[in-house]
Amino acid sequence: MIESVASAQVVAGFIQLVWVIPGLPLAAFLINGLFGRRWLGHLTGWIATGAVGLSALLAIGVFVDVLRGVERSTVVLYRWIGVGEFKIDVAAFIDPLSSVMLLVVTVVGTLIFVFANGYMAHDQGFPRFFTWFSLFVFAMLILVMADNYLLMFVGWEGVGLCSYLLIGYWFQNTAPQKAANKAFWMNRIGDWGYTIGMITIFLVFGSLQFTEVFEKVGIATQANLTLICLALFVGATGKSAQLPLYSWLPDAMEGPTPVSALIHAATMVTAGVYLVARSTPLFVAAGPALQVVAVIGALTAIFAATIALVQFDIKRVMAYSTVSQLGYMFLALGVGAPVAAIFHLATHAFFKALLFLGSGSVIHATGNEQDMRKMGGLRRKMPVTYWTMLIAGGALAALPPLAGFWSKDEIVGAAFVSGQTVLWAVGIITAVLTAFYVTRAMWLTFHGEPRDHHLYDHAHESPTVMTLPLILLAVGSATLGILIGFPPDQGFIHSFLRPAVEVEGVEHTAEIGTILALAAVSVAAGLLGIAVGFLMYARHRPDPAAVTRAAGPLYTLLVNKYFVDELYDNRILGLGRAFFGVLWAFDVHVIDGIANGIGRLASIGGGGARRLQTGVVGNYALTVVVGLFVVLVAYGGYAAGIFKR
């Protein structure tokens, strides 16, 4: 059953097939899961990759359909839950926003899958990896395709599960286990908010379907909307690693690097951004909630960027960078620029996936070394990895004309134009920090003299199966911004997405002069960060060690990540366990104690039990039946007496 809103006479050919898009990875999951370990072996990798690749082709088809004028379509599969007024279908909602998300997930996904075939080649759990990786893509596609909040929640928790499984992929070791549990638990706290928001939506609007809810947005009171939006945003902070539920994401780097690239950079962690963008009509009407989103986003952006300054694990730098960049996206949403948020989501998917895969290529080449202090000079050994990562690093530092420049500039500019100058300043300072830490990471890894010669001598460029995805992602990281985001505010992405996510009357337009001035400040911020990084690490003026000493307690604070892990993982968990232990003691001694006390009073205790243990089944049965009968008659007579009165 298809309902399409078509502005022209367009046959929505690919949209009819939209359920095949998640169906293919699901099939790959089932095939690999059932037959992978015994029979398929390394074939599982290409089965999974082929499935995601075909999904990507179909997603392109759907995108083209949407482009040709099929603005909104709903493809219903079946009735999932229907109790009373509560009716939920398994249905896909295809509009510009979801078609862009489908593209990002499947296209970036395919490249990462190809890479993973090389990266995981020597791992014993290869089939298991590709089973779960396929399941992840399936769940992520459900998340972005869903036409209602509950089905979206299925994908939402599904990607959380896959994230849990893949973070803990090397389950023999302690750290991945702990990181996996932490990720799931923190996400569950967020999901609590999602659940409350979702149920409140149903109570207020009588539906969970996006289009129906948004049409009725006027019937809700401001207080209801604020409650709904804040609750949903709690969910978004969990999934997208925002303050205060961010600390699982850096730990999630315990998973294999392709997982970090796909799940913890390009797709899953952007689900919160997608949720808020999707719910724009609610957030805009809710007013104060949007300001909360903007402030949390900006705070997270600068907070995580400061931690990234001092990390030595290459993947941790990228992880904190991801938290920070997600903060930018929420800042965009908060200042009323959802298009810029999705634009940055798309460009970030390319350049951050590339940075992770590049890091993976380095880790692969150096025999699982992640500490940048042991690297150095690797650009001579790994030219492809180096040059592609350089492009991605430039995009992250928002250098024109690379992709990140266009999207990030738009976010920071939107903050300024909407009058939030403090948040704009935070965005600019974060841009300086970003450019600094990416320069630092690139220099420590690829430039200078090799600091560990054993490691350097064994390093080698990765095979084509890994470098090819790097090159393709580099092309995207370089050109995507100018292709879809130029001219600023009037590019393809803007005209394409605006009908889907923007609400009338919140657009802020700026003079061309202002736009240019803002862009100049952004670029200057990036260049400043790069220059400082270059001076410190290439010229040692000032020397990083001296800066570290001078910073003293501030450095200690940063290197310990503001002691948040200490607070969460030890203090709060410890308190919880102590409290639950007290509850258990209460259960055993007080509640059960009372019950046993009553039992003892009734003198049905040890003596009777010992005599019962005669070993003959018949005796047990007889005893119980006789006893039952006696008590029964006694009680019956007693009761009859009471009520005869």
Binding site: I81, W192, G636, I642
Partner: protein, 508 residues
Amino acid sequence: MTIGHVLTLLLVVPAVGLIPLALFRGDARAAKQVAIVTTFVELLLSLVMLAQFKVGEADFQLVEQADWLPSLGIRYFVGVDGISVLLVPMTTLLTFLSVLYSSGGAIKDRVTAFMASFLILEIGMVGVFISLDLFLFYVMFELMLVPMYLIIGIWGGTRRIYSTLKFVIFTLAGSLVMLVGIVAIWLASGPEGSRTLSLPDLLAIRNRFSAEFQFWVFLAFGLAFAIKLPMFPFHTWLPDAHVEAPTAGSIILAGVLLKAGGYGFLRFALPLFPTGTQLWLPLIIVLSVIAILYGAAVSTVQKDLKKLVAYSSVAHMGFVTLGIFVLNAQGGVGAVLQMLNHAFVTGALFLFVGIQYERTHRRVIADLGGLANHWPLYTTFFGVFVLASLGLPGLSGFVGEFLVLLGTFQFGGVPLGGLFWGPLAAIGVILAAIYLLWMFSRVMYGPARDHYKVLPDLSPIEVACAVPLLVLTVLLGVFPQPAIAIIEPSLDRVLRLATDPTFLVALR
């Protein structure tokens, strides 16, 4: 295929199975075969019964009745509606799987007696779900008790006598109070000679029950069901009973016996005593939310695997009572779905804890670890059931819990309102993820251990036991609507009876 008297046949088949068991006493192999065949025939029969059930009708179907003790107005009266019709195949499936698993070598002593206990137990359990006469229901309710007492007391662990006595005394205390209630209803049902205990008759005359009467008789019934379920604070028999029970006993105890409590509320307490329901409802809702949070909190710090699953049952059954007493369609349907889900999932969790224990002889979580290295198949199955238990969408646990929460948010008839208790209960879902995943990672993950290398992964019989449960867990999560379509009409009728004291249903 249509089979007449199918409900009566469901009570007869296990009884018939007892005859060859008595004849071949002492022959363990024959006893196993007889029990497997009998419970399998019973399972098929229950599926035929389900197929004969007309979906969409609220009323009792496949009804059979006969005079039993005519002078007392007591009748043999059985029938099923949308609420009970799914609980019967659930019971027969779990019984069959328990017998099948036990035949695989888990039970070595007194096999004939063990199998006989299970067949008697099955009569009681099926009987509880199909009885429409209060006295018949009471007899069946007590009939479940005796074989379970034996199963724990004879084939249980080291502290089996203490545990089984505790189980019996708790349950008996509850059901005897219920008997008092039944007698009271009987006396109140009319003048001498025209008294009755059949449910449809009682529903037609329930407006004769005064508010005071309803208050006390609801308490009498409620206590029995609250202990069976078990509700906080009557739950302490459960961890002890589960820890000592043999695996099959735990499966049935958690899977079916606890459901008798939830079912009893829906079938008798709510429709017969609308005023009593209103009077007791705030307390029950508060106790349910406490059970959800408290059960989950205590689960987190358990050291023994079986105790952890047992306390998690307290939390999960809290969702059942919560859903029932918010008195709306979403909550009620959610509660019934949660009963089915809990039967399959917690039954499976006890099965897997048992399978593990049989190999390693360890049940203390700290003594275990690294099993995933050795048992990939076991890990997969166990993992799916753990995920279903923590309410992952797409598996069976989510639908019921979500509907219950949805119902709770909407419910205003409790102090502080549903917008207070709903989000509070939802915290239980966070806690479930904590205790289950923490347990799973400590038991399954970690480095390989040499002394586990020799232990085999799942045997074919064990796989055969796990697969149906897994399939049902997935089906109920992905396609719950067929089940909802069966449940909803009858549930709506129960809710109408419970909320509208003037709504009378004269059936026959």
